[in-house]
Amino acid sequence: MFRAGSSGTVQIRPVSAIQVEKLTQRFGAVAAVDDVWLDIADGEFMVLLGPSGCGKSTLLRMIAGLLPPTEGRVLIDGVDVTHAPPQGRDLAMVFQSYALYPHLSVARNIGFPLRARDMPKRAIEAKVADVAAALDLAALLDRRPRELSGGQRQRVALGRALVRDPGAFLMDEPLSNLDAKLRAGTRAELSALHDRLGATFVYVTHDQIEAMTMATRIALLNNGRLEQVGTPEQVYDEPASTFVAEFLGTPPMNLLDVTLRSGVATAPGVTVRLDLPDRDLILGVRPEHLQLTTGDEAMLRGHVTRVENLGSEEVAICAVGAATVRVRARRPIGPRAGDTVALRADRFHLHLFHPETGRRLVPLTHQEISCVS
């Protein structure tokens, strides 16, 4: 891949593909990362997404070489680097804490990777000036990290990663210390940066908005295991498990335990026609896909317990039998607390999950249903 360098010459930018095979990290009896296989293509923006403690940061640290895996391999461009130290992997990392060296100025922080590579002083200064100009840090080069705001520190951490054209960028929740407004702006900047550099990004976050907005693909982790890997559209539109369905979306997908008999799935307050063999299953439908209805096509019947105002939209929280169902629509949504409601959704907006494993059920043929493993 090529890119116009700062001096106007064309440089060959190394871009790394990262493969993770059977990667496992055990701390005592606990498997923080458990048998993870992942192919990250060169130039991809891969987001490792999951709740706190799901093992996403541990996975990133193993890719970085900061933590030796208990089992499995890490390959960069096909080369096994499992036992290589971080210095030998040509990866740059942005830490959640930014880890800016507190005793060094901004210029020395950004120039640190070049100094570690014994680049001549003059060349370091030129490169640091380039990066600082691109990140709007030129006026801050003589400051110490403690004299910077959160957003400025974040940019310095990014600058330190950018300065040496690494094969891939690893980012561990780099936006989590910024306020909401700054985070939204920085998201767009990071995406633009990825488009411009064409480099491989591996980005850890627990924030579904960051994942949905920036990722080319998302790897969702739960309890150290991969739940699903796919584009933001795939993981949102076709969640592979109830965990994914509940993790993505605000509010999350409504999940109802239903019993399917003679082509009708039922539960208290639920009546849905499904042309499928008899079985128990979990029926899922996203809050924005539920519509108020009056006719016979009602799938869910219940009453509104509360209406939440989100500004542009409202969420009606409804009791359907013993279950809680959320409906999201433009404000005003209509019914108020206490009103009875009938709800419907289009057939293609219904998701089916296995009642025990929680995995997505997809029709293999017209009338057959099987568990996707």
Binding site: A64, A99, P102, A116, R160
Partner: protein, 312 residues
């Protein structure tokens, strides 16, 4: 035509109630607790530190032989004049400087090296082992060292295969005191360095490794600069306290000898006051050392603030 009016900002909905001023007794009750909590410590400080200090200053302008029955006579600055005119003071200050310089390897260099190496080792046993000498009372340690350093049958001479008179040779006595004091404090200093190292966020070393720095460079460029507050603290401790650390060993092993070779400033002060029974001269020496160390402390603190980097 429509007229546009500016929306007013939210106004207080109720008038603020006037605040009643609490009574004098109520204000005292509210303000008193912090002072009461501080009182025991303040009383102890006054009784055991400030009062003796004031008495020492007063005594330095008097002459007295420590006998309760003999008079305390005012002599003005005579004690100071006498003190500054004897060569003893300068010589003991110089020997104290040598002791500080001799102890620094034990209180700074060895602990930093041991701390950096030990940081890669798991477990706390080694820390306990290296800290153990600090738990031994100096006087008890001195008795054992006296036995080990015996010129005839001592283990040190036998192990080294020499016949040195470690404690009573003017060329060796100061070195011996330095080494024994160093042995005594090195464990404490290692513990301080370990605490300092564990206070450094491991992310810095990780980040430096990602940035391509070798282990040696991470130590030189990241770890040591971030350890500088700890090192400054150890230097300060060594400069201010070496004379005190060595005192019990000097008193038990050499009594300042041979021919004053191990007489440091505090042993000189002790000698004036409690061997020569010249309380005024001892007090004058005490006041001078107090002022001198005060100035040194201010200087070292200012210097360490300048050179050390704090991890925030």
């Amino acid at each position: 035509m429509t007229i546009l009016a500016e929306l007013p900002t939210p106004a207080p909905t109720r008038a603020a109630a006037p605040v009643a001023r609490p009574s004098f007794a109520a204000r005292i009750r509210r303000a008193a607790p912090p002072y009461l909590y501080l009182a025991p410590a303040l009383v102890l400080l006054v009784v055991w530190t400030y009062r003796p200090l004031a008495q020492a200053v007063r005594l330095s302008f008097h002459t007295w032989n420590l006998l309760p029955t003999s008079p305390i006579t005012e002599v003005g600055l005579a004690n100071y004049e006498r003190l500054l005119s004897t060569p003893d003071l300068g010589a003991s200050v110089w020997r104290t400087v040598l002791m500080v310089l001799g102890i620094l390897p034990f209180s700074l260099v060895i602990p930093v090296v041991v701390g950096l190496v030990a940081a890669r080792v798991r477990g706390r046993i080694y820390q306990a082992m290296i800290f153990a000498p600090m738990l031994v009372a100096p006087v008890a340690a001195a008795a054992v060292w006296q036995w080990l350093l015996d010129p005839g049958a001592g283990a040190v001479n036998r192990v080294l295969g020499v016949r040195a008179n470690w404690l009573h040779d003017t060329d060796l006595a100061l070195l011996t005191i330095i080494v024994v004091t160093g042995w005594h404090i090195v464990g404490f200093a290692v513990l301080v360095v370990s605490a300092g190292l564990s206070g450094i966020n491991p992310d810095y070393a990780d980040a430096a490794a990602m940035d391509g720095a070798s282990r040696g460079r991470i130590t030189r460029w990241i770890t040591l600069p971030l350890l500088s507050p700890t090192m400054a603290f150890l230097v300060l401790m060594t400069v201010l306290l070496s004379a005190q650390w060595t005192f019990p060993l000097i008193d038990t092993l050499t009594q300042g000898g041979p021919s004053d070779a191990t007489t440091n400033i505090y042993y000189l002060l002790w000698d004036y006051g409690f061997h020569s029974y010249d309380a005024g001269l001892g007090a004058a020496a005490g006041v001078i050392f107090f002022v001198g160390f005060g100035l040194i402390a201010v200087g070292v603190v200012a210097l360490s603030d300048r050179v050390s980097h704090h991890d925030d």
